[in-house]
């Protein structure tokens, strides 16, 4: 044996050049569409079928929800900035914007907690009527999604202090970003079919 050729497969071959984890997120989101589809479908099937109040129009505060929707939308904007800064290697700004996304997400959650407790005071509970049942379960599930997003963002933020981050790690942020944008889009659908239609 004069010379040894070694085939190293550290960087493993991938058929599509798309990172596995990103493909995974796309597929998860496709599936998540069906989760939300089923919840929104149930809401619409039971819309206007409540036998007792409070009804949506009695409790909704459209101004408040518009503000919290706006906050959530802005967080998606910050998400784009955070990803950009990480890609160009500006860790300081990456941290700032990532924190900003998590912070705005938390504000949205704060609004939701306020809204829920307000509704309960008005007499709308899970078991008051079909509106309460479907509304809380739908928006609650969305809230859980946002909470998980915030946890993921904070984890990435903390990780950036614990071990060095580099531009090549941006795929993780990108994946969380995909998730975050998706959760945002779902909210826009919910905002439209649950809130806005009550005011037309």
């Amino acid at each position: 044996m004069s010379h040894t050729v070694v085939a190293h497969s550290h960087e493993e071959y991938r058929s599509t050049r798309l990172p596995d984890i990103k493909l995974m997120m796309w597929i998860f989101l496709a599936s998540d569409c069906m989760f939300f589809g089923s919840l929104i479908g149930s809401y619409l099937v039971y819309k206007d079928r409540s036998l007792v109040g409070p009804y949506p129009i009695d409790v909704f505060d459209i101004n408040l929800t518009t503000i919290s929707t706006f906050v959530l939308l802005m967080s998606s904007f910050l998400m784009v900035l955070a990803l950009h800064e990480l890609r160009v290697g500006n860790i300081k700004l990456f941290r700032l914007w990532t924190f900003g996304v998590a912070f705005f997400g938390s504000i949205f959650l704060g609004f939701q907690i306020f809204e829920f407790s307000h509704f309960v005071q008005e007499g709308l509970t899970l078991s008051q009527n079909l509106f309460g049942t479907t509304f809380f379960v739908l928006t609650g599930t969305h809230g859980v999604h946002v909470t998980i997003g915030v946890l993921l963002l904070l984890s990435l933020l903390i990780a950036s202090y614990v071990r060095p981050v580099a531009a090549k790690d941006s795929v993780y942020l990108e994946v969380v970003g995909l998730y975050w944008h998706f959760v945002d889009i779902v909210w826009i659908v919910i905002f439209t079919v649950v809130y806005l239609v009550e005011f037309v």
Binding site: M1, T4, V5, V6, A7, H8, S9, H10, E12, Y13, R14, S15, T16, L18, D20, L23, M24, I27, F28, A30, S31, D32, M34, F35, G37, S38, L39, S42, V45, Y46, R49, S50, L51, L126, S127, N129, L130, G132, T133, T134, F136, V137, S155, R163
Partner: protein, 640 residues
């Protein structure tokens, strides 16, 4: 073949050290190897198949003679519910997933699934959710509302025991396992195909698994939401299925069957895949009409989501909806028929060898076709209105699920057993088993068509003597002994073959696909050099070039950057590290299920905390693993 070990730099350690056992029980708890997990899946589903068979046997014993009372109506309800749930969710579907786990990576020339630890998680969630559902027998009674658990039968006031909670929580959790595994398979098949393995060269089993996995990710969410709604109703007093509050129990039926009809294809498509591997191999002819087979699989998947209301013809959806769903159900018969003709065309003019796998494949063709014909009959609403909820329906779905899925998985079991264990199953016992199982099957289910047409309702614990049902039921019950004996022989011969079976060699059937290019059983790294793929039947191309019609010149579509280097003398293969966390995470979910069921806040919080810990440790631990250096024999051309 010398193996050099080189441990990757230790990353962030969680609290637990990274396990490295290769034998013993802990190696199985912490394994992330797709082959070991595949074996675990297959063994576990056979275990559940056994339990479901015992339940079926008890029911048939009770129904053997009219007006018997071996089994009380209450227990009978639990038996058919658990039998159906077990067969569908814990036996037949996981059997397909088990074969996929083992063979998809081998067939596409990948070294594992894309996310090995997630794969382990999926298995443990499935296995533990099965254990969870079965503990219901000891903790307040098993579910008893049928495998589709129609609302409002499942409401707290109508069904106050724990059984329904076991059903709802158990299936929800098991669905999570199925979902992550399906996602993992999709990423693997899309992203980890060997160089040259284009989509139109994927073995048909891989294609069918890809389609199945896509069906799973779209079909399971509606079920999960429906289960979640009932859990909320029963635990937190929501009103999803409370008619007094204006709710529509029919919503459950819609959500369930939007899942449920695709589910029957989720069960049968992997089976189609197995058949499409077995028939060409044993006919010594490439699969006839490969592109049409792929396309009809995709078409079935789409149509599978457009026929769900054929389970609801008698619920009063109205003539327009009934007509529409009747039509879509007829249409879905077309691609299925195409597949049957293509399998027959593959056998036509081939050198057919009736080894045991091929026997089962042939029995599948006949039995599944018959089940398909009764399916088309049931898609005619006025006929369905006559036989809905009778034994005619029971006969129909056992022909397609038992005669379709179970028989083809037995074909797969006999086909792949030598690859998985290195030993052949004894041929004589195999034939004996076959000649008990298939006639036994017909003895059980053929008479049920007639009992059903005479009006015998399903899910009924007994029947009156002398109304024309006695003989049919006696035949059915007698058949269980015949078929059961066959199953016992299959299991027994598998245990026997593990020790004493004839050595199989790498390629006992003269196979076509890549799994036959590695040793039996495959080494833990699967392939030392992943072969370059230039054809749909790459292993045949090497052995018998005249058998395959070459469609395009070699290496046209092989990416030059990535084709394996020639004249390599040593390769270095990354082996992902074992891990405790998949098991810990799924065990936390298992405990949490009891917390939810018994409204035990403390247990609930504890499990959530453990789950959080496991998730973070999982992420911090990283993929890990080591590189294994393998010396090759000097001359390596194709598959080694």
């Amino acid at each position: 073949m010398a193996i050099g070990r080189q441990t990757a730099a230790a990353g962030h350690a969680g609290v637990l050290t990274r396990p490295t056992w290769t034998t013993g029980w802990a190696s199985w708890l912490t394994t992330v190897d797709h082959k070991r997990l595949g074996l675990l899946y297959i063994c576990t589903s056979f275990l559940f198949l056994g339990l479901a068979s015992v339940e079926a046997f008890l029911m048939r014993l009770q129904l053997a003679r009219p007006e018997q009372s071996l089994v009380s109506p209450d227990v009978f309800n639990q038996l058919f519910t658990m039998h159906g749930v077990t067969m569908v969710f814990l036996a037949i579907m996981p059997l397909g997933i088990g074969f996929a786990n083992y063979f998809v990576p081998l067939m596409i020339g990948a070294r594992d699934l894309a996310f090995p630890r997630l794969n382990a998680f999926g298995y443990w969630v499935y296995a533990l959710s099965g254990v969870f559902i079965y503990t219901s027998f000891f903790l307040g009674g098993a579910p008893d509302a049928g495998w589709f658990a129609y609302a409002p039968l499942t409401s707290l006031s109508n069904n106050p025991g724990n059984g329904i909670d076991f059903y709802m929580i158990g299936l929800l959790v098991s669905g999570v396992g199925t979902l992550v595994t399906a996602m993992n398979l999709i990423v693997t098949i899309i992203n980890m195909r060997a160089p040259g393995m284009t989509f139109m060269r994927l073995p048909l089993f891989v294609w069918m698994m890809l389609i199945t996995a896509f069906m799973i990710i779209f079909a399971f969410p509606p079920l999960t939401i429906a289960l979640f709604q009932v859990i909320m109703d029963r635990t937190f007093g929501t009103l999803f299925y409370v008619p007094e509050a204006g709710a529509l129990p029919i919503l459950w039926q819609h959500l369930f069957w939007i899942f449920g009809h695709p589910e029957v294809y989720i069960i049968i498509l992997p089976a189609f895949g197995v058949i499409s591997e077995v028939i060409p191999t044993f006919s010594r002819k490439p699969l006839f009409g490969y592109p049409i087979m792929v396309l009809s699989g995709i078409f079935i998947a789409f149509m599978g989501f457009a026929v769900w209301s054929h389970h609801m013809f008698t619920t009063g959806l109205g003539p327009v909806a009934n007509t529409a769903f009747s039509l879509t159900s007829f249409v879905i018969g077309i691609p299925t028929g195409i597949k049957i003709f293509n399998w027959i065309a593959t056998m036509w003019g081939g050198h057919v060898r009736f080894a045991v796998p091929m026997l089962y494949a042939t029995a599948f063709l006949l039995t599944f076709t018959l089940g398909g014909i009764t399916g088309i009959m049931l898609a005619i609403p006025p006929l369905d209105a006559q036989v809905q909820d009778t034994y005619f329906v029971v006969a129909h779905f056992h022909f397609v699920m038992g005669g379709g899925a179970l028989l083809s998985f037995l074909a797969g079991f006999y086909y792949w057993f030598p690859k998985m264990t290195g030993r052949l199953l004894p041929e004589g016992l195999g034939r004996l088993g076959f000649w008990l199982i298939v006639p036994g099957f017909y003895l059980i289910f053929w008479p049920q068509h007639f009992a059903g047409l005479l009006g015998m309702p399903r899910r009924i614990q007994t029947y009156e003597a002398g109304i024309g049902l006695d003989l049919y039921n006696l035949m059915s019950s007698a058949g269980t002994f015949v078929m059961g004996a066959g199953m016992v022989i299959v299991i027994f011969s598998a245990f026997w073959a593990l020790r004493k079976g004839r050595l199989a060699g790498d390629d006992p059937w003269d196979g076509r696909t890549l799994e036959w290019a590695t040793s039996s059983p495959p080494p833990h790294y699967d392939f030392d050099v992943v072969p370059e793929v230039n054809d749909r039947d790459p292993v045949w191309l090497l052995k018998h070039p005249h058998l395959v019609e070459r469609r395009d010149p070699i290496s046209e579509s092989v990416d030059p950057d990535h084709s394996p280097p020639k004249h390599v003398e040593q390769v270095s293969i990354h082996i992902p590290g074992q891990s405790w966390y998949p098991f810990i995470a799924s065990f936390a979910i298992f405990l949490g299920s009891y917390g939810l069921l018994f409204h035990n806040l403390l247990l609930g919080l504890f499990s959530v905390a453990v789950l959080f810990y496991a998730c973070y440790a999982w992420a911090l631990e990283g993929v890990g693993g080591h590189h294994e250096h393998i010396e090759l024999e000097p001359a390596v051309g194709g598959p080694a």
